[in-house]
């Protein structure tokens, strides 16, 4: 009976060793987003680090999960089906970028420039997008559930067939925006400016 606690401890230690072993050998194929040497990821000539300057970069299908791209210059970049879950895009410039099918779940993109961006079939569930500028952009068939757009601007932005369940549009500028066929259960429009908005409902105010 006395051997039991010892055996348990040994098993526990062995398990801990198992769990920590992959972390001690960087370069294993465990995380495809990290190059073997521990050096920064470079995708099609675009280095992935804060303030990187890659206007027009080809980042299609890139795995950028949790990457820090704060202040990055990604104007006109092609981010089709890019995986940006949990990534940091704060203060970045994505003007005219293509985010078709991109995954931005829980990403941080506060104070980011998304003017004239194409956001089609993208997943922005739970993303933090406060104070960003989406003027002239289009959201088509995207999941914006629980996304926080507080204080963002949507001048002339088109929202067609999106899931806006619990999406926060508090204190946003929706001037001349267009809303058509969206799912708006529990969506918040508190103190939003809606002058010239097509499809904005009286009940939203």
């Amino acid at each position: 009976m006395a051997a039991h606690p010892l055996r348990c401890a040994a098993v526990a230690l062995a398990c801990m060793a198992c769990a920590t072993a992959p972390a001690q050998t960087p370069g294993d194929a465990a995380d495809p987003g990290t190059p073997p040497s521990g050096e920064p990821l470079v995708v099609n000539g675009c280095p992935i680090w804060p303030y990187t300057r890659c206007p027009g970069a080809d980042l299609r299908h890139a795995s950028l999960v949790g990457k820090n791209l704060a202040g990055a210059d990604l104007r006109g970049a092609n981010l089709t089906r890019a995986d940006l879950r949990g990534a940091n895009l704060a203060a970045a410039n994505l003007e005219g970028a293509d985010l078709t099918g991109a995954r931005l779940n829980k990403a941080t993109a506060a104070n980011t420039d998304f003017r004239h961006a194409r956001i089609v079939g993208a997943d922005l569930e739970g993303a933090r997008l406060m104070r960003s500028d989406f003027s002239g952009a289009q959201f088509i068939g995207s999941n914006l559930e629980m996304a926080r757009f507080n204080n963002a601007w949507f001048v002339g932005t088109r929202f067609i067939g999106n899931d806006l369940q619990e999406t926060k549009f508090a204190a946003t500028n929706l001037k001349n925006a267009v809303f058509e066929g969206n799912f708006v259960r529990y969506t918040l429009f508190t103190e939003a400016a809606m002058d010239g908005c097509q499809g904005c409902q009286e009940s939203w105010k």
């Binding site: 680090w49 804060p50 303030y51 300057r53 104070r131 601007w153």
Partner: protein
């Protein structure tokens, strides 16, 4: 609802007045020790590692930037971002060419922010400094900030 509106308006006015009350001005520093080659807006930082630039940058920083970014660049309790964190990750990069490119990217963002300031939706969060700060002085600010450890 009205209270929230009033509070928001008061906050916005406060923030706007704080930014507007702080007008850009030329700091009183002797920058004669800086090489004339540094008189350029082009990155990378021409004064990187220059001890004179660190000393001059510190003086200039405490006169012009410290108001929002903290004395001696200690931005841990300041309203504006802690600039010591800019480009920290670059220093860990082993590949020389990649490290230089990373630092140049950070330099470009720093210079752009100082020259043109930070305006968003008609609110000036930081005024433009291009008219009152010479390029060599801005590079010495950058040199000081990147040589100031986080603690």
């Amino acid at each position: 609802m009205r209270n929230t509106l009033l509070f928001t308006a008061a906050l916005a006015a406060l923030a706007a007045s704080a930014a507007q009350a702080f007008q850009p001005f030329t700091p009183q520093v002797d920058a004669s020790a800086l090489p004339p080659a540094a008189h350029t807006w082009a990155e990378p930082n021409p004064l990187r590692g220059n001890p004179d630039a660190i000393a001059i940058g510190r003086q200039a920083f405490n006169q012009t930037c410290a108001h929002c970014h903290g004395a001696d660049a200690n931005g841990s309790r300041s309203p504006a971002p802690d600039l010591r964190r800019m480009g920290l990750g670059c220093k860990r990069i082993g590949d020389e060419a990649l490290r230089q490119r990373c630092l140049a990217d950070t330099d470009a963002f720093f210079i752009k922010s100082v020259r043109y300031g930070k305006q968003k939706f008609g609110i000036t969060h930081m005024p433009p400094w291009e008219a009152v700060l010479s390029p060599e002085l801005v590079w010495s600010l950058r040199t000081f900030v990147e040589n100031t450890p986080l603690r």
